[in-house]
Symmetry: C2
Subunit: 368 residues, 2 copies
């Protein structure tokens, strides 16, 4: 009897909370800023709910991979006009999310959204406006250029692609600049930091506000996707280390006005790019002087035994990841006399808003 | 009776030709070079047939928009494993094609292919290797950089994007360069010429072979897609002319080492970009000295009445378009004393191989 009462109470509570949640959805949906030109859907409201609308009149099932964590995405319902429509069960985290659409068992992209390389495929992207979005907004300030370069890579027998951010005014002066080599994560490629990361806009805004002295950023493909996600420990760093240290760094130093010293050359990476950063910086401390791991692990004082001390270490992650690990590692580094910062991005998980914010923080500490 | 005999004869002939065609498909299919990393399909064989394979186990109908002209694309058939598979009825034209996939009445992209902006959407792309593909291949030669710039545009109240190709060695010297402003067509944007057009590789190869003196190429969005395809005559050139002539040209001249004279500044465009080129060059002959219309109309001697004479005119199209119009217009221009060339791309239609080849030809004649 008691059991049944409890059951009824829970069921009422559940129903009530669903009704409450649905009643509370603000009908102020606007097209996501990452939509294709002229596309209304997907839309996002002021609370962070996402709404999808996709045409597939003869389909039996349309499901969006995006939804509340672990609840398996959002099932869309078919309207009379052949469009499938649906809203996430709850608000999404602020920032950028990859997603895809399952149409009758196949994985496709939302025709309304632009595509971003993640999960070893060009995925759909959506942006939930963040309260602090101003720091990565496109503003009326001088803009740096993002250069696609094809650098010779004898070790891999081809020309490889990198993107190089040169700060505003680069083309007019004779000044030389420090360089940050900044890596993407597993499933992504060299397009990630400038496309979904807005690294160029973050730099433009920091420079315009006088918060940093300008530096160059370089992104290239970390060869991370040659390994399956579950087997990341089997990843061999050597081929990428050769490309980065022996091929790309010399290309950048000979084609751009860089300060080609360890002190003015940093390496950082997000997620698996952090793992690469840790390995390469410890293998090549004479090449890189400052290090950043963004949701990508930690350094311990013992890592630097018998090695040159780094000038600066940035550790960070989202508050929904494992912030305690970052805090603890930072304390240990500081206690051992290292110049280290631990940054926690509030309210975000293992996603790009954490990394945009981390770049914003880290950029203000590098090359001092 | 005679009628029936004829019917049977025709029907036999038709069946025979289908059998013949099918028997002749060379089973040497390879992944298209425009596939996403690691993706096997779509594939292309040595004859130019394309084969598609797409997972959608519960779908009722999967159709690829690509196929023999006017025959409505290629219907795929479902295999036991849930993959839909099919091969084009015949060989496709050499070069690049946009396409999309209809899944149960909705328009999606092929998850195997990379996406290219055309038809006012990011479309799937496939490449049928051309016999002359060497001229746009990625080779072991010095490569120029492709710079994404965000230039201030007071007339449209935002920063607008352009891509600027700077030739190999640009960053090392003090040399100044001529500039070609090169426009995309309707449905496309500023990414077209460098992505699917391979304009940067065409230039790298021409320069490496000593066939041209280096120059800069600039692509920006021609605002062409604000008008519906059938209503192109309603397009107002003024807003784009202002962006191009009053905002982009000054930005390029002040941020790059250009020779900022009419003689060393050219404008060309494909399809609707040709229409824009014709209008703007005739409106602003003091700004641009050489003109190119690629599958984008013609000039007549009368167009230049009371105007400065252009230094060079390039007219071109594919042999499957209206080559006679190009030939006739070129003859008339030449007869009237103009320095003009008419180029016909053999075996191609209103597609990007025509325009890659046209750029290759035109580049060798500009800025002499």
């Amino acid at each position: 009897m008691k059991k049944n009462v409890l059951k009824i109470a829970l069921s009422t509570l559940f129903t009530a909370s669903v009704v409450w949640a649905q009643a509370q959805i603000a009908e102020d949906f606007k097209p996501s800023v990452m939509n294709q030109p002229g596309q209304e859907y997907p839309m996002v409201n002021s609370q962070g709910y996402a709404r999808f609308k996709i045409l597939a009149p003869a389909a039996d099932s349309v499901k969006v991979s995006l939804g509340l964590g672990g609840r398996g995405g959002t099932r869309l319902k078919k309207n009379a006009d052949g469009y499938w429509e649906g809203t996430t069960e709850g608000p999404m985290d602020e920032g950028f999310h990859y997603y895809n659409v399952n149409i009758d068992g196949g994985k496709f992209n939302d025709p309304g959204a632009k595509n971003y390389y993640g999960s070893i495929r060009w995925e759909s992207g959506i942006e939930i406006p963040a309260k602090d979005q101003d720091f990565y907004a496109l503003k009326n300030v001088p803009h740096g250029h993002v250069q696609q370069v094809l650098f010779p890579s004898p070790s891999t027998g081809t020309s490889r692609r990198a993107f190089v951010y040169t700060p505003p005014g680069y083309e007019k002066g004779k000044q030389k600049y420090p360089v940050l080599y900044l890596q993407h994560g597993w499933g992504e490629d060299e397009t990630a930091w400038m496309n979904q990361g807005h690294a160029n806009l973050i730099m433009d805004n920091l420079i315009a506000e006088g918060k940093i002295k300008p530096f160059i950023i370089v992104n290239t493909y970390g060869m991370t996707n040659e390994v399956k996600f579950g087997k990341i420990r089997e990843f061999d760093i050597k081929p990428f280390q050769t490309v980065l240290v022996d091929e790309l760094v010399p290309y950048v130093d000979s084609h751009f006005r860089t300060i080609a010293t360890r002190e003015k050359r940093a390496m950082a990476g997000l997620s698996m790019g952090g793992m690469e950063t840790k390995t390469i910086t410890l293998n090549k401390p004479e090449v890189f002087g400052s290090f950043g791991l963004l949701s990508g692990g930690t350094y311990a004082p013992a890592d630097f035994k018998d090695k040159i001390k780094p000038l600066y270490i940035h550790l960070s992650c989202g508050s929904k990841e494992r912030p305690d690990g970052i805090r603890k590692a930072t304390e240990e580094l500081k206690a051992a006399g290292f110049n280290a910062d631990g940054y926690i991005s509030e309210g975000t998980a293992h996603e790009f808003l954490s990394w945009r914010r981390a770049l914003y923080q880290m950029a203000q500490k590098l090359f001092k």
